[in-house]
Amino acid sequence: MTEPTVRTRAAGLVSWPIARATVRERATAPFTLVCFVVIVLLGFVHNQADAWGAEAFSNVAAIWFFLLVLALSAGLLSSEVESGHAQLVLLRPITRASWVSGRLVGAGFLLCLGGVAGWVVNLAAAMARGEPLEFLPRLLVLPLAILPALAWLATAIALSAVMRGFSNAVVLLGARAIWAVTLFGTPVLFPKLPVGAALAALDPYVGPQKLFTIVDQVRAGEPVIFSPALWDLFWLLAAWTCAVWLFNRRELARRRA
């Protein structure tokens, strides 16, 4: 048997070879490429009077950024399980957790790449237009746009452990739609029930939160409240853990079937 000549990191928390392979695999998917191109093109568009970079991730751009999340997560785990390649890979010295984490990190890298591309183009376009540049808000926008997107990505990937293709997107969007109906419909249908305020208070915690309020606080010189960012970080890690747990459950069920 050939002795390993390079140190294998496969048994760690994240399998970097899996992450790299995921980047190669997903970067060439047609829908991913379309999302990338549209996000970059939208970076040129000047659509806010007080542009400080948020426009790269707002309105139509936000929709395409979310579509990129869905494109990257669709069947990310299930397609490998169904083709049988996951079983081949898991025969290597690698744990199921590090395989899932590798897939997630690879997809996350591409999401970050898309975000950075849109952000850079937006910055370049603003400079070309001679707009006044607010450097700190512009710098803050990038991680504050990417963090909730990563949390959504981890959620969609967790669903992809048990759902094939874009069915994870359907479930994710369906769940959000049901929550929206509950949030806005309940006070209308049951005006006497004191649930409206409770639901509104709960709303920020039904999914990752938008973080641009932090930029607003910085620009206004107000004290910065980091709890939304911490919530998104918690959501990201929880969804990551869920992805590993769901994949483990599926794999063990397959082995027992």
Binding site: R7, P17, S83
Partner: protein, 311 residues
């Protein structure tokens, strides 16, 4: 010596959605030692693939256990020494064959040059640069074999490796298996090609209905020499007297031999009592006959399970 693969009492039942159960593997016990090639023979649905997957820990056994090099199949150290080529493997469609191999190199911790050398050895250079989505069945098979061989595994499990391959590919796989055995690697081979199994395997496991019907030592007593004679009938009495283990059918004399080395002696004896030889052919033992008798024939239904057979 620790067996490369040891299966003890493996049993697997598949549950159907309706609540029924299918007994796929039934108390299967066998071993594969370093430096030997073991064949799994049986009809479709005999439980051969399931047995392999149980041995690798890809499926959970309802009873019994498998050990790889004395370790649990889930042990990462055991996995490092195992190569597995499944029947009809599928790979990420967006990756090229070389990218798939390099991924497996990285997972095993072997240099990428190993993948490059292997694709040349398997005559897979050009297809390896294309996306796997464009591969034929045979090319998928070759890629599956290449990834199994990457780490020069001490234990190689091949599930129908010749399915979809051209004759040159089949011959090449035979060479590879012999090379693995030469470096003291162990091979468990699941194939329907009796002739290939006969040529490379040291031992054969006949399996049907998930049960081990018989363990057959191919190398120990499995060869026979077939001699075509111009005057077979004229020397029939002499043949019967001097070569009692041989049988004469028409103009063909068939005699069991322990190995290739014994063939010249048999030929000398036949010439010695006047036999006019037209053709000499060394063939494997009665593997096909055994297969038909054990697996397809009436004996199959009543054949006993060989418990704990070393295969």
């Amino acid at each position: 010596m620790t067996a490369s693969l040891q299966a003890q009492g493996l049993t697997k039942r598949y549950r159907s959605p309706g609540g029924g159960q299918l007994l796929a593997v039934d108390s299967l016990s066998f071993e594969v030692q370093p430096g030997e090639i073991v064949g799994l023979l049986g009809p479709n649905g005999a439980g051969k693939t399931t047995a392999m997957q149980l041995a690798l820990g890809l499926l959970d056994a309802d009873a019994g256990e498998a050990r790889l090099f004395g370790l649990n199949p889930e042990d990462l150290e055991a996995r490092r020494q195992v190569g597995y080529a499944p029947d009809a493997p599928l790979f990420p469609r967006a990756l090229t064959g070389m990218q798939v191999l390099k991924l497996h190199c990285d997972l095993l911790g072997v240099p990428h040059t190993r993948a490059e050398a292997l694709v040349e050895e398997l005559r897979f250079g050009d297809p390896s640069r294309r996306q796997t989505a464009t591969y034929s069945r045979g090319q998928q098979q070759r890629l599956g074999l290449a990834q199994a061989l990457l780490g020069e595994p001490a234990l190689l499990l091949l599930d129908e490796p010749t399915a979809g391959l051209d004759p040159a590919g089949v011959a090449h796989i035979r060479e590879i298996l012999v090379a693995v055995r030469a470096r003291k690697g162990a091979v468990l081979l699941n194939s329907h090609l009796l002739s290939e199994v006969e040529r490379v395997c040291d031992r054969v496991l006949f399996v049907k209905g998930g049960k081990l019907l018989r363990a057959h030592e191919v190398r120990a007593g499995g060869k026979r020499v077939e001699i075509r004679l111009a005057n077979a009938q004229a020397i029939a009495v002499d043949l019967a007297a001097r070569l009692p283990s041989a049988s004469l059918e028409g103009d063909r004399l068939r005699a069991p031999v322990p190995s290739e080395a014994a063939v010249p002696e048999v030929v000398r004896q036949v010439v010695g009592f006047g036999g006019q030889i037209l053709e000499v052919k060394l063939s494997g033992a009665e593997l096909e006959e055994l297969y038909l008798q054990l697996v397809e024939g009436p004996a199959a239904a009543s054949a006993p399970v060989v418990e704990g057979a070393r295969v």
